[in-house]
């Protein structure tokens, strides 16, 4: 019932805000958005799920399963439920939405009721994506996310907002269609062995040897590989993976700050979450077979994304391209398919959600005051805006993977996971990917030095004042969360591990059994030494 309650609050709240006049909407939507936070934190505290939602022997938390409709040979269900991967993502969604709503109070000054209503609609769709366990329910939410996002970019965005909105819209819609065909190729390959489109049923049917039959003359393994790469192509757009990342900089740069936060913080995770659920849980053996190709995508995303970021002058573009780089690490961790690789990838989803949210918010606060985002247009802001500057410094360090911050834990896990992975040249490829961090450090240090420190000057004619409280609060909350996850990663990683461990047992390669206590100890120790 809890998931329906979250969805219901968001939807009813959205409708109420659409109908009420503009002057109430900012505060009211903030108030309404606190309810899902309370709900999701309560769910987090009372979470009793065991195992991976898609695999055998799991117990789902907050599960609901009702008949929806039947289509052809398949029964469709309204089926939602949470496991250790989806639970943290839902908490991330609720928290980031509220912070984004707070950060919208300053910049959004027209058509407020529509803006805040759409934000809540988006929250509902995102919660649905992470909670749904039946294909069509999931797909409805997956596509539903596009609609509020289209309007949020198109109406409240920057100068090229119309182009960015339609590009995002069409690009990701085509991706969904491609993914859809891939998914159903796999389902039809399963033949009569499944009667539902429930993701758990499909995953479990696929784990039986010889489950997939040949289709249209393609042998079973080809069917699987084609399905894998069609789905991968579909999800890669959302992640995004180079070379299908080109919608991202446009969408991020043109979107208003609060929307960028959701876009980078949660929307990109839809792609990696779906990769984890579909490609890597359904077809781990195909993932291993083509590991080198997939790792190549990951490494290219990491390095190329970082190099693109290095070339930017616009602060928002820097953060946007560095997201491409960071999501490359998630792919790397997924392909590694070790406990730390998969766990680290999931942890990186949460961590990157917080860090990129923090940086977009920080840049947004600077833009609200200076009305420019160009690195060359300002310097020495730290004097006038100490808290904001501090937040950006904190966010940058988190991105670089400074110990005791969540970015360090995530990247540490991913690298240790992929170092010991099975695919060829694993250590070498991991080392190349690690080089991305050096570039990250390069461009963030460069950008910070130019904008925040040195002699104060701004090329636009606006008075530079301290940010108001409702702009600062989200920054502080995010810094606290980043540090909390960085110093005590177990609060999230234990839950993630519960859902990831059954996945690693899918393949023959068993991991050495190392508990997360070890990890926590190691992280704290390393952090202490470095400090």
């Amino acid at each position: 019932m809890m998931i329906e309650l979250l969805l219901g609050v968001c939807l009813v709240g959205a409708v109420a805000i659409f109908l009420l006049p503009d002057r109430y909407s900012a505060r009211l939507s903030f108030g309404i958005s606190l309810l899902p936070i309370i709900g999701s934190l309560y769910m987090y505290a009372t979470f009793d799920g065991v195992g991976n939602a898609l695999l055998e022997g799991s117990t789902l938390a907050f599960e609901t399963k009702v008949n929806w409709l039947s289509i052809g040979p398949y029964e469709l269900f309204y089926h939602v439920g949470l496991d250790g991967v989806s639970m943290p993502l839902i908490v991330l969604t609720t928290i980031l939405t509220t912070l984004a709503i707070l950060s919208a109070w300053t910049p959004i000054d027209e058509r407020q009721s529509q803006f805040y209503g759409l934000m809540l609609l988006m929250e509902a769709s995102l919660i649905g994506v992470f909670a749904a366990l039946d294909f069509f329910v999931w797909f409805v939410f997956w596509e539903a996310v596009l609609i509020p996002m289209y309007f949020l970019i198109g109406v409240w965005g920057g100068p090229r907002r119309k182009y960015a909105a339609i590009k995002f819209f069409v690009y990701t819609n085509v991706a969904s269609l491609v993914m859809f065909v891939g998914f159903f190729l796999l389902v039809f390959g399963l033949g009569d062995s499944i009667q539902t489109l429930g993701l758990p049923a499909i995953a479990q049917a696929l784990s039986a040897p010889g489950a997939v039959e040949s289709i249209a003359g393609m042998p079973p393994n080809t069917v699987k590989a084609v399905a894998f790469f069609l789905m991968f192509a579909g999800f890669a757009v959302k992640v995004p993976v180079v070379p299908v990342h080109t919608w991202l900089p446009d969408a991020h740069v043109e979107a208003p700050t609060p929307v960028s936060v959701i876009l980078a913080g949660v929307l990109l995770k839809m792609g990696t979450y779906a990769l984890l659920r579909f490609n890597f849980t359904f077809l781990p053996e195909i993932a291993q077979q083509y590991a080198l190709i997939l790792v190549a995508f990951a490494v290219v995303s990491v390095i190329y994304g970082a190099l693109l970021a290095l070339a930017q002058q616009d602060l928002k573009r820097i953060v946007a391209y560095s997201s491409v780089s960071s999501m490359g690490y998630v792919i790397l961790g997924l392909v590694a398919f070790t406990l730390y690789g998969l766990g680290g990838a999931t942890f990186q989803m949460i961590s990157h959600g917080l860090i990129s949210g923090l940086l977009f918010l920080g840049v947004g606060v600077i833009y609200n005051t200076t009305h420019t985002r160009m690195v060359g247009d300002m310097s020495g802001l730290a004097d006038r805006m100490p808290v904001t500057a501090g937040a950006i410094v904190a966010g940058s360090f988190a991105y670089m993977g400074l110990p005791l911050m969540s970015g360090f834990v995530a990247e540490f896990l991913v690298f240790s996971g992929s170092f010991s992975a099975d695919f060829a040249y694993a250590p070498l490829l991991t080392a190349i990917a690690m080089f991305g961090i050096v570039i990250v450090a390069g461009y963030y240090l460069f950008a910070m030095q130019r904008t925040l420190f040195g002699q104060f000057s701004v090329s636009t004619d606006y008075e530079i004042t301290r940010a108001s409280a409702h702009d600062v609060v989200p920054l502080v909350v995010l810094i606290v969360l980043i540090i909390a996850l960085g110093s005590v990663p177990e609060i999230v990683f234990d839950m993630i591990e519960g859902a990831i461990r059954p996945m690693t047992e899918l393949t023959a390669t068993q991991q050495a059994d190392t508990g997360s206590e070890m990890l926590g100890l190691g992280v704290s120790f390393l952090g202490g030494v470095l400090l």
Binding site: L69, S70, F136, L146, F169, F184, L185
Partner: protein, 516 residues
């Protein structure tokens, strides 16, 4: 009784034509099955009565109200039978059949009729010939309903004409409008031509099989025909296919559609592109699946023909829609595109997979389309009522003045594009699923490409309404109750068809499997 006679007359005639030896079977229980048609017939008579008592009346409310009430009663009867389920019954010596399929389509026709009658209240305002307008709408609806019940080529042809003839007049209803008259003329000429082609096709099939009843034709074909007649039969099948293509506005008989939909009064465009198209499809389903089963008619590969038609129709419709400057014409071409999508239901009957599934997917798409497309055309009717112009730019900033109507229009357009604001998403993806399942990968790729393109041009309207700034002189006068009510109802139903599609998908599945 007099009403029943009016309905019976054409069918009684054809019963004797079809060389059937059985006496007419018409028990009391049979009326139940054709009750919706009887109610529609009574409505038409009531409209004629009102019109003859007050020939110059412009009491629009009475006429529109009568039509709405009549079609709603028919709708409720149909809906009840559909939900409770019916036995497949043959009436009039097998000339008509009442089954889930006929009820499903009658449901579409009566809903669309009710919606457009409601919307016409303000749209035709105080023009002349109102009685005729509503009566013709109801008569066309009877024709479509009869078409859904047809079980022989004779009834099919007569009901096709009954559906088409009023439509020609309705398209040309705006007599002082050049576009409307021209569209009516064009529609009539192409309609007459394709009717002739259709009738000639029927005569060839009759010549080969010796029967007009769909089931008898199928039985004869299954037994096997003289090899020298295969060619004649083939020409007959192709000609019948042409008649179907005309009614569904598919390539190659689609030329009338953009003109007719653009020139006609917008509620009539909605009627033609939703209900009339669905009528064409039910005819196609019955003829090609019941009368020409693919395995019995081995020499003539109509499945392949429908695959080609589907691909060409959806591609042509969508690519043409993407280049239009006026919203109504864009919707007209998009309607051709959707005809192409539904043709997948026939093109995917390759025997590679569960056949009834893709057929019911097509039916579900027609149902949802009946609401979302009608709604979209009614929004155009609203814009025409306000006189704000026809191009995309004329809609700029409309959401500031009429947010409710624009929200409804966005629901329609996104649902047409296959996004989850309505049942259009599910039905479109069911068709894609059906194409993949039937291993018709070319159709699947075609659907993907077209779907992506369609999102672009549908969202142009949304962009104009919500994102663009309004022209400084954009004013709208009043919020017409009937039009608004029709649009909002269509929007609510379109949306509800997403979570509550099960109500209709189950009958559609039953109906689909009933044909095989």
């Amino acid at each position: 009784m007099s009403v029943a006679t009016t309905i019976m007359t054409p069918t009684t005639l054809t019963a004797s034509v079809s060389a059937s030896n059985q006496p007419l079977q018409l028990g009391l229980g049979s009326y139940e099955g054709i009750a919706p048609m009887i109610v529609l017939g009574l409505t038409a008579l009531a409209l004629f009565t009102v019109d003859s008592v007050y020939p110059d009346s412009t009491n629009n409310t009475l006429l529109s109200g009568l039509t709405v009430v009549g079609s709603l009663i028919a709708l409720v009867i149909t809906g009840t039978q559909l939900v409770t389920g019916v036995e497949s019954t043959e009436l009039f010596s097998g000339q008509l059949v009442v089954d889930e399929m006929s009820l499903f389509f009658t449901f579409i026709f009566t809903s669309v009729t009710a919606l457009i009658a409601l919307a016409s209240h303000e749209y035709i305002g105080d023009r002349e010939y109102q009685g005729e307008y509503y009566a013709l709408v109801v008569l066309a609806a009877i024709g479509m309903t009869l078409l859904a019940n047809s079980n022989s080529f004779a009834t099919a042809f007569i009901s096709l004409e009954l559906a088409s003839l009023p439509s020609y007049a309705l398209v040309a209803y705006l007599k002082d409008n050049r576009g409307s008259v021209e569209a009516g003329m064009k529609y009539f000429l192409i309609g007459a031509l394709s009717s002739a082609v259709f009738a000639y096709g029927i005569s060839l099939v009759y010549g080969v099989t010796g029967s007009l009843l769909f089931t008898d034709v199928a039985a004869t074909l299954t037994e096997g025909i003289d090899g020298s007649l295969t060619g004649v039969l083939g020409i007959g099948v192709v000609m019948i296919l042409g008649g179907v293509a005309f009614k569904t506005a598919s390539v190659p008989f689609h030329f009338w559609a953009p003109e007719a939909y653009e020139g006609a009064p917008a509620p009539i465009s909605a009627f033609l592109s939703s209900a009339s198209k669905a009528a064409g499809f039910v005819l196609a389903f019955r003829i090609f699946i019941t009368a020409f089963p693919a395995d019995a008619i081995a020499g003539i590969d109509w499945v392949l023909a429908f695959q080609i038609l589907a691909l060409v129709t959806m591609t042509l419709g969508n690519f043409a829609a993407a280049t239009q400057e006026t919203v109504k014409r864009m919707l007209a071409y998009s309607s051709i595109g959707h005809a192409g999508y539904v043709l997948i239901a026939l093109g995917a009957l390759t025997g590679a997979a569960d056949q009834s599934f893709v057929l019911s997917a097509g039916m579900i798409h027609l149902l949802v389309y009946g609401f979302m497309n009608t709604g979209a055309f009614l929004f155009v009717a609203l814009a025409e009522h306000w006189g704000i112009g026809r191009t995309f730019e004329d809609y700029n900033g409309l959401a500031k003045k009429a947010p409710v109507a624009c929200a409804a229009m966005s629901i329609f357009l996104f649902s047409l594009a296959g996004l989850p604001t309505g049942g259009g998403m599910l039905s479109k993806y069911f068709l894609l699923l059906g194409a993949v399942n039937a291993e018709a990968y070319v159709l699947a790729v075609g659907l993907i490409v077209n779907s992506a393109l369609s999102l672009y041009f549908y969202s142009r309207v949304v962009k104009a309404m919500w994102i663009e700034e309004p022209a400084s002189d954009l004013t709208i006068d009043g919020y017409p109750t009937g039009l608004y009510a029709a649009i909002v109802v269509a929007a609510v139903v379109t949306f509800l068809l997403l979570p509550a599609l099960a109500i209709f998908s189950d009958p559609a599945l039953t109906a689909g499997s009933g044909l095989f």
